[in-house]
Amino acid sequence: MDFLRPARWEEALAAKAEHPAAVPIAGGTDVMVEINFDHRRPSHLLDLTRVTELYTWQDAGDRVRLGAAVPYARVIERLAGELPGLALAARTVGSPQIRNRGSVGGNLGAASPAGDSHPALLAAGAEVEAESVRGTRLIPVEEFYTGVKRNALAPDELIRAVHVRKATGPQQFSKVGTRNAMVIAVCAFALALHPDTRTVRTGIGSAAPTPVRARTAEDFLNAALAEARCWDTGAPVPPAVAAEFARLASAACRPIDDVRGSAAYRRHAVGVMARRTLAWAWEQHTTGEGTARCA
């Protein structure tokens, strides 16, 4: 095994082009487990922890350009104002030790259906900035997850950053597990209100082969809220609308039975979380709380 230690981003891209099978390692909270348990023996480890720009973020107008290796702890401390959904999701990751190392870029690299960033990114709206020596492209996060633990990166590409739309309204995240810490999601649900476009977006985790949006549920809810003039009046979401939204969110799942939970339980729980996160977010929206949650 070779340990590649690029000091600059251009060197990292050149190394990945030269050794497409090299395994990038940032926080190492996925990669090291695989190596410790002999599940992976890459020819090259490509250490990204010296590439300082991966640990920075920039204000990019209506987006935050979040460096791939920024640890969850920093997202929670510094970005909860602009990216409240992602910060809420980050709070549920592992433990303090894991949040000090683990990153959104690593979560995307691993592309586990249970990764907690994914529902929040789907609901907020995000694009993955993938770069290689050939150039840069922005991949809508919906198109980034291509299968169980598979993503859209080409062998010579690295994730430079993820561009996440800043919240224009309340965002919520909910996760089912056996305790508050150190839990891989049985299933998870994220919801973001976008008052600027009068739309609601969602993300489902751990209840399908990839993280997915509940698009039919979103379309139904967007039409129903418009029809009931809820955005204009600030009236509560009619219970029948919330119930149908929950049913459609459940229907968007394609879960499996596994050690963490049955498919039927996951489908049920996603419906419950959909209804609850909608109620919480709508309450924040209509009472004016939540959007100005301080960083």
Partner: protein, 165 residues
């Protein structure tokens, strides 16, 4: 490969380090510092917790090569870091002994590093803060109550000695 790393304030060097090796292995097997414990090697138990450039991390999930040129503090370094005289314990360590927070002791080094970090950031943590800060450290013996007592005791003693100074 060769790894140079500062451990507990001293520059250390190790040669022939395997590229896939963890910082935990480097500390225990190459640098003669067995204080950090290896219980799971998958980040679940926290018994390998060390500070890397000041930040608590699971040493089992840091590649040894990633620690090159960095600063590591292990449980062996806590007393000196707290300014304790040679042969004496740091306030957090002493509180663990006094509160009966140590049974088999396997989880203790990781808990000490995590608790030490908490009290440095927040000298007067609430119970919820203590639980949160220690949520990545498992103990199979104590039932955690005495561990919470120990952290409260360390906080109270530090506050008292701070007032006296």
């Amino acid at each position: 490969m060769r790894v140079n790393v500062t451990v507990n304030g001293r520059p250390r060097q190790a040669d022939d380090v395997w590229e896939g090796e963890s910082l935990l292995y480097l500390l225990r097997e190459r640098l003669g510092l067995p204080g950090s414990k290896n219980a799971c090697e998958q980040g679940e138990c926290g018994s390998c917790t060390v500070r890397l450039d000041g930040v608590p991390v699971c040493a089992c999930l840091v590649a040894a090569g990633q620690a090159h040129g960095r600063d590591v503090v292990t449980v062996e370094g806590l007393a000196a870091r707290a300014g304790a005289a040679e042969g004496h314990l740091s306030p957090v360590q002493q509180a663990f002994v006094d509160a009966g927070a140590v049974q088999c002791g396997f989880c203790t080094p990781g808990l000490l590093v995590a608790a030490d970090d908490l009290l440095e950031r927040d000298p007067d943590p609430s119970d919820a803060d203590i639980r949160e800060a220690l949520s990545g450290n498992l103990c199979r013996c104590t039932g955690y109550e005495k561990i919470l007592d120990a952290v409260r005791l360390a906080a109270a003693r530090t506050a008292r000695s701070g007032q006296g100074a």
